[in-house]
Amino acid sequence: MTSLALHPGLILIAGAFLLLPLRGAARSVVALAVPVAALYLAWHVPDGAVASVRFLEFELTPLAGDKLSRLFATIFAIMAFGGALFALNQKHPLELAAALFYAGAAIGVTFAGDLITLFVFWELMAIGSTLVIWSAGTRPAYRASLRYMMIHLLGGVLLMAGIAGHVVDTGSITFQRLATDSVAHWLILAGFLLNAGAPPLSAWLPDAYPEASWSGTVFLSAFTTKAAVYVLLRGFPGTEILVYVGLFMVFYGIIYALLENDMRRILAYSIVNQVGFMVTGVGLGTEMALNGAASHAFTHIIYKALLLMSAGSVLLMTGKRKCTDLGGLFQSMPLTAWCGIIGALSISSFPLTSGFVSKSMISQGAADMHWLVVWLLLAVGSAGVFLHAGIKFPWFVFFQKDSGLRPPDPPSNMRLAMLFFSALCIGLGIYPDPLYAMLPYPVEFVPYTGAHVVTQLQLLFFSGLAFFVMLDFLRRTLTITLDVDWFYRTPGLWLIRSALQGLSLYGSQAELRLRQSVFEVWRLLERHHGPESKLARTWPTGSMALWVMILLLAYLLLYYL
């Protein structure tokens, strides 16, 4: 049990509860210190099972480590620290605590050695993230959080059913590589993919995340989807269907982001797009591709958080989130614009940024396997990332037209958080060795060769040319784009409402019938027992004596029989 007290995820969860009553400087100190403690502990989790607990007839291993777990726990803890620094001036008392709870649950997933522990932390993540969305305190956020929770509870049911089936089939709860050879394993895969934002239910992500507060979305972007990438890496490496699912996500993200007007929804679609690259890497399944997927999850968390910090700063300082209302902000928010641009260059895998050293490994994985079509589609995807996130986000928010808005850069803690993550983006881009050393397999990949740099620059700059040449096609409109969530927000809602109406109609008829039958019973009772009924009448003494005599005779008769 002592080793469980040093569980990095549980430390964060305990820290979250500790944070709730605190205010002022004490709150800031705890919010920043707890993720650092979690990071320290995560690095000291040794290989193999560390702690075990008995639950029913199962031996749970809530703390088990290896390189992959430590890699994800490291980035989750760094994210919790950077996010907390950014959110220090968030007024809502619940959000930061909920975010640390959420981060702790995500770290719990990475160190879960068995499927039951995994499931528990998986569901705690759903609770933490829902609370983060709630903290925005607006009606649309509340509605979106309910839809979000509905989808994640469905995911939880799929996962639990799969785990139960797996335990019945194999008798084991150890979380290890699974094959898609049984219904149970398919259910587990479906549960994992739902959290990754995979089709057909990707819409929960761009529906819910942009409704959180200016700081809440920063946390949301990091944990759920990347924890899903982690479990896919551990449970389903080399599962071919993931290549196609991942590629679909890559293009879904690009196309929807190109059509979107809300700056944070653009970035939310872009999460699906980036996780698509990782899922494809998991599906390819070679050591190169798996390293690529794992390292891309690591770098992605940093640059996507940075992009959302930049967008969050704009939202906080202007109160606006639509591209049609924004533009020209580079003039008064230079630091926010620069940090946004660094995030945008990183997501586009520009040389000297973190995205370049990670994503190219996934493409290399496809090239090594000689999968031409997959490799070409990944190249189209890379070009599309520059288009929808690399240029579109900074262009429409910070340049484009002059919106007349002249807000200053955000408060110092937010600026510091952005600078910290910008430094990580460039630092890992220039010197990727520490990241490569943490990857699950030995890295035999040199990112900076002349050919890599030149071909990537060609791809990106000519994508940029396409953007500016076709800018008229990309003009922002006050629109949203229908997605699968339409089915449960329009006809689904109508169906449920009609069913409820039908039920209430049926209910009122049933009530009428019940009242009638109760009335009938009442009348029957009254006929026999009421004041005028036979049983209630006064009887003459003679008939009474007669009845007594009959009874006594009957008694005599029975006695002799």
Binding site: L258, L376, V380, A383, L457, L478, T481, R489
Partner: protein, 83 residues
Amino acid sequence: MKEQHWLTRRETIRSLWIVFAVVLAATVIAELFVAHEAHFDVETVFGFNAWFGLLACAGLITFAKLLGVLLKRPDTYYEGSDD
């Protein structure tokens, strides 16, 4: 009239386009001076990533535009309906 930011002046934008054109040309010409690492035949076509990136993006934008005709709705579409 308030003075325009130097980056928004017409002359600056024209110079930026010229710089951009030079950079575009430079990335293609640079291909002549680096060792090739082609995994597929198609990569050996000169300037492959340049024209492929351009065409890919043009394709993506066009496809998005077409899909938008079908799926775009006013951003007040869901307002009130799911309350």
